[in-house]
């Protein structure tokens, strides 16, 4: 049902040309499409029924994200609904949930998760951004990098250090910071794969203590779980994009003629496309495995391990399928004119997001 609904949406509103026009617009995503996301109920998918959501199953997110991946959807679904919304759902009190989640699901509230810092690489416990209590406020200072949707989100969900040293597992808290607050300095940019993001400096930003989400100093576990769900989401997105790359490459090889015949008739190239197909299937399988484990009752470490397995294996498939799709297309594959190059850039971006292949391979080994 979800799959069907996204496919219809893509058919009507999200051709390659539609997407190019959206990328060229000032905010870099379509507000009309976002309103449709809300209307079609997609923004409720990440949330449990008791929070007013569709159920919050990872397997549903997987289906949705795979379709997004095929069409290279750039609307900030993951930053708003999975990262920002995910933190509120996991740690927020009743008041925060009712204030934020309904607005989010109705498409009225944009969020962003600001969790990474220079020098921290992919370690979510590496938090130097400090929040010091002063009366009824926290005063926040520090800098976050690669804040997806950070340029336009009204609400920033930020990991801050309220105690301990830079890499301590305890002492990490989450604050909801109004992006219009004095001292929030945003350097906005587009990512290489067409998404809007920002580097954000917090210069003595005063945040009401009521904006603390969850218990002070105890946010790391929930943060890691939320980022794991986002990781599963982009892995599923990559599965969709890789399928599109394979399908486009096979089609191209049937129509592109060199040496008097379609290049798809060359056995050397056929075998490479067969290898691409195998990679796509293994990627799909391992993402399904991880989604099913996230929806099960196993303990948090096992879930984390499953997600790292998926991200690691999908990363390997991304390298292989992405590069081969470009190579088999030849020069046209590295131009902006064809969707193949854009899919290649998106999957490459995903490879790095939330930890690259080596990071997740090592994390799998350690869990």
């Amino acid at each position: 049902m979800l799959q069907d609904s996204v496919q219809k949406f893509v058919q009507r509103h999200y051709s390659f040309d539609d997407r190019n026009a959206i990328l060229a617009s000032p905010i870099g995503y379509s507000e009309e499409c976002w309103a449709l996301f809300a209307e079609l109920g997609w923004l409720t998918v990440p949330f449990a029924e008791e929070d007013g959501g569709f159920g919050g199953l990872a397997t549903d997110l997987m289906v949705l994200m795979e379709e997004f991946g095929k069409a290279m959807v750039v609307e900030p679904f993951v930053p708003t609904a999975v990262l920002g919304g995910g933190i509120v759902a996991a740690l927020g009190n009743a008041e925060q949930k009712s204030a934020m989640l309904a607005a989010l699901m109705e498409g009225r509230l944009q969020l962003a998760g600001a969790f990474y810092e220079t020098g921290g690489r992919y370690n979510l416990a590496n938090v130097a951004t400090s929040a010091t209590r002063e009366g009824e406020d926290y005063v926040v200072s520090g800098e976050k990098i690669l804040v997806l949707n950070g340029a336009h989100a009204a609400g920033l969900v930020v990991s801050v250090r309220t105690s301990g040293d830079q890499r301590d597992a305890t002492g990490i808290s989450i604050l909801h910071i109004d992006s219009a607050s004095a001292g929030v300095k945003r350097q906005e940019y587009t990512t290489v794969d067409g998404h809007k993001a920002a580097q954000i400096r917090f210069e003595n930003v005063r945040v009401p203590a009521a904006n603390l989400i969850g218990e002070e100093g105890a946010a790391l576990n929930a943060l890691e779980q939320v980022v794991d769900r986002a990781t599963l989401c982009v892995s599923a997105e990559a599965v969709g994009a890789l399928d599109a790359l394979l399908q486009k490459t096979v089609e191209y090889s049937k129509t592109r003629k060199q040496f008097g015949t379609a290049i798809g008739t060359f056995q050397a190239l056929q075998h490479r496309m067969a290898d691409m197909f195998i990679e796509c299937q293994l990627a799909r399988s391992i993402v399904m495995m991880a989604a099913m484990k996230l929806d099960s009752d196993i303990d948090a470490d096992e879930k984390a391990k499953a997600v790292s397995a998926a991200k690691s294996r999908v990363g390997k498939a991304i390298r292989k399928v992405g590069q081969e799709a470009v190579q088999l297309h030849g020069g046209i594959g590295i131009t902006n004119e064809l969707d193949v190059g854009h899919l290649f850039k998106r999957v490459t971006g995903i490879e790095t997001l939330f930890g690259n292949t080596d990071y997740h391979t090592a994390r799998f080994a350690q869990k």
Partner: protein, 399 residues
């Protein structure tokens, strides 16, 4: 071939170092170090300095302005150039059309074209590929029809690198439709200012208009611009492609990039209190690349030794193209992996000479994914790596 340099060779190395230290413009070096794209003026200015020293074209015969260096000297020169980031001369004039002109051109053509190429007075570009003739280059359709003292050229060339800067283009054109496709091709030099030529940029996925489509509509080209004999162009082009491949291994540049990568990794925090350079997984990857470059380097030296005893560069040069481009692309991947999340911002303005804002990402991190994207071209151009393997199969293995 010796693994150690002789005292004379060491002295030569010292001379090259001193020259580069004194003459390679500091502003161009700063651009290279900061990953700022070089402009036409940067290339031309540097090439003219090399020309004044007499070192513009080490590979040319001495009678036309070559240096008369041994293979080892050429190797030392390339290595020292790469060490300081000095750009190699733009290939199209110096390395691609010039060998064809001095090998197959007539005396008049040699006098007319070679001095300006050597002195970098004229910028050349290449007109080979066409929209429907890529790997199957010999199927090209751009036609040249004789009309009195002229050829009239019609057709479209594509993947034309930096043609927006070019004064002249060398083209493969079809002069006979009635014979086997390889036998009806001629090699024609065309002034880019001739009426009827239009250059349209093609944007690559890193956002740069590095290549063009070039349209020819009833372009009149004097017959004296034909190289060699009519319908022999394919033979000439094959020789040119072999030259292109011997220059494509890029060993010195890969060595320098790996050295820089190592030192960057040693200074890149891993997020756990150490640095990425200490990570055994990353160390293994760098080591594998270094070993591959070593194997490539000695393969190239063996090929050079064969050339120096009088053999023409043969189909073995396909190895250099395949391995040279693949290892360069692997190094691109490592730079991107090292940059991590900061490989993702698309901030190309940061890498322009007049950028005055606050830079995002350290040590050029934000250029790494773009380099990775852009350099996927390396396994496609110059005869794709698939074509190189076809050459090995046919010409070396006899399959």
């Amino acid at each position: 071939m010796n693994a150690e340099f002789t005292p004379q060779e060491l002295q030569f190395q010292e001379d090259v170092r001193q020259f580069l230290e004194a003459e390679f413009p500091k502003d161009i070096r700063a651009k290279v170090d900061n990953r700022i794209r070089l402009e036409k003026d940067d290339y031309v200015r540097w090439q003219k300095l090399l020309y004044q020293k007499g070192w513009a074209a080490p590979n040319w015969p001495e009678e036309h302005g070559g240096t008369g260096w041994s293979a080892v000297q050429k190797y030392i020169f390339a290595e020292e150039m790469a060490r300081v980031g000095a750009p190699e001369p733009v290939a199209f004039g110096m390395k691609m059309v010039a060998p064809v002109i001095y090998t197959y051109g007539n005396e008049e053509q040699k006098k007319r074209f070679l001095p300006d190429i050597l002195a970098s007075n004229v910028w050349w570009c290449q007109g080979y590929s066409e929209p429907n003739s890529g790997s199957d280059l010999a199927s090209l359709k751009t036609s040249a029809v004789r009309d009195g003292d002229h050829y009239v050229v019609n057709g479209t060339k594509t993947w034309n690198t930096l043609g927006q800067y070019a004064d002249w283009i060398f083209c493969l054109v079809r002069t006979d439709n009635s014979v086997k496709k390889q036998e009806g091709i001629s090699f024609l030099l065309i002034d880019m200012k001739t009426p009827g030529i239009k250059v349209n940029p093609i944007y690559l996925i890193d956002g740069t208009p590095e290549v063009n489509e070039v349209y020819f509509e009833d372009v009149r080209v004097p017959v004296e611009n034909l190289i060699g004999e009519e319908n022999q162009g394919w033979t000439y082009a094959k020789v040119l492609l072999t030259h292109e491949r011997t220059n494509i291994a890029g060993v010195p540049r890969s060595k320098v990039r790996l050295e820089k990568l190592r030192s960057l990794a040693a200074n890149t925090a891993d997020g756990n209190g150490g640095n990425v350079g200490d990570d055994p997984i990353f160390q293994k990857k760098i080591a594998e690349a270094e070993i591959q470059v070593l194997a490539l380097e000695y393969t190239e030296l063996r090929a050079l030794a064969a050339v120096s005893v009088g053999k023409a560069p043969g189909p073995e040069s396909s190895i250099l193209k395949v391995v040279g481009t693949e290892v360069a692309q692997f190094i691109d991947e490592l730079y991107m992996e090292l940059a991590g999340l900061q490989s993702l911002p698309f901030v190309p303005d940061q890498f322009s000479a007049d950028f005055a804002g606050v830079e995002i990402g350290e040590n050029g991190a934000a250029a790494t994914a773009l380099n990775y994207f852009n350099n996927r071209k390396a396994s496609i151009y110059g005869g794709s790596n698939e074509i190189q393997k076809n050459i090995i199969c046919k010409a070396v293995l006899g399959l």
